[in-house]
């Protein structure tokens, strides 16, 4: 199925690889989980976890639109 996808769904954004919508969503989720885990390990004593969530959601919107 993937091979039959039209080329125009892929694009070159600021990410170092050519991506489609699914890729950008996937990258955003991977980053979101990683940041939350690292935040819980190193930063949660200083800043609450929802700060990480807000930052990651903002980053996700940026990646999905410009990545």
């Amino acid at each position: 199925m993937a091979g039959s996808q039209p080329r125009k769904t892929q694009r070159d954004g600021f990410l170092p690889i050519r991506t489609n919508g699914f890729d950008r969503g996937f990258i955003s989720v991977v980053i979101l989980i990683l940041v939350h885990l690292l935040w819980m390990r190193f930063l949660e004593g200083l800043l609450p976890l929802w700060v990480a969530t807000v930052l990651c959601l903002a980053l996700a919107v940026f990646i999905i639109r410009k990545g």
Binding site: A2, G3, Q5, T9, Q10, I17, R18, T19, N20, F22, D23, F26, V30, I33, H36, L37, L38, M40, R41, E44, L49
Partner: protein, 292 residues
């Protein structure tokens, strides 16, 4: 449009089965991962824990060490199997090799042995005072080999055992891939004056990429969830030298019945596996994402 609908109809049974055996358990594990649930505890009911399991997980040095150890094991195993598998595939495809059908059969036999039997066999081979491996290592090299007390020996034995069990699978895959390669590009490269290394790197490897990618994925995922062989060989010891992540999860989920924490560990392991596979895919295809 009509053709596409018929296609979906044909896919429906497989999709339904995948949904029932794949997606629903995944959602259930995701759900359990947010709860504190230990059937042997004073309160055996599900209690909402939020992110507490994950919070505990990132501070759990035993878990993090297990994860690191598993990644090291997977790296050694996959790289060695790929190199060894390629060499063996080329050797077993050589026209000059006398009795190559016989050697192919012998070489392929370990694949059909059950992992639990492989672990038991290697334990018998390696147990000090009884197995032939410690006996000959002492006789020939003066090494006091003991998988019950020496962490390095146990870890190395786990790697060798996995190599023995799964290299034939890599060999078979690569033999299939090499047999299917077209002859023209190889002849062209020879005419152009390419040496063996250049032909291997610039002609064979790019053409073998789909086979290599599939083989590496299968072996990587298998290596990351080794349990039964290791359990039979060392039971995760000595100390925690061979306690790989699958074994660690099993110990937490079954003897300790800590289901919530076990679910969180499983999900984090799944996350690591998916991310590694994706990175590998991007690196090996040189592209460019998941939907090429």
């Amino acid at each position: 449009m009509r053709q596409s609908n018929i296609g979906w109809l044909f896919l429906a049974p497989a999709t339904l089965i995948l949904f029932v055996i794949g997606f629903i358990p995944f959602i259930y594990i995701l759900y359990v991962g947010f709860f504190d649930w230990n059937t042997n505890a004073v309160d055996p009911t599900l209690r909402w824990a939020g992110l507490q399991n994950y919070r505990s997980l990132v501070f759990d040095t035993t878990f993090l060490n297990s994860l690191t150890r598993t990644l090291v094991f997977a790296f050694f195993v996959v790289v060695s199997e790929l190199l060894l598998g390629y060499v063996l595939a080329r050797a077993l495809m050589a026209d000059r090799l006398w009795g190559r059908q016989f050697f192919r059969t012998i070489h392929t036999l370990p694949i059909v042995v059950a992992p639990i039997a492989v672990g038991a066999t290697w334990r018998l081979l390696c147990v000090p005072g009884f197995g032939i491996v410690p006996y000959y290592l002492k006789l020939w090299f003066g090494i006091d080999y003991n998988i019950a007390t020496n962490s390095y020996h146990a870890f190395a034995t786990a790697i060798v055992m996995d190599l023995w069990h799964w290299t034939p699978f890599v060999t078979l895959s690569l033999m299939a891939g090499l047999t299917a390669l077209p002859k023209e590009p190889l002849e062209q490269a020879q005419i152009d004056g390419g040496n063996k290394l250049q032909i291997f790197w610039y002609v064979i490897v790019p053409m073998l990429k789909p086979v290599l990618l599939t083989t590496v994925f299968i072996r990587l995922m298998d290596a990351l969830r080794s349990v039964d062989e290791i359990w039979m060989l060392t039971k995760g010891g000595p100390a925690e030298a061979t306690r790989f992540i699958g074994l660690h999860i099993w110990i937490n989920v079954f003897p300790k019945t800590d289901y919530g924490y076990g679910a969180a560990m499983s999900l984090l392991t799944l996350y690591v596996t998916i991310v590694l596979s994706w990175l590998l895919f991007v690196a090996m295809t040189g592209r460019k994402g998941g939907a090429q």
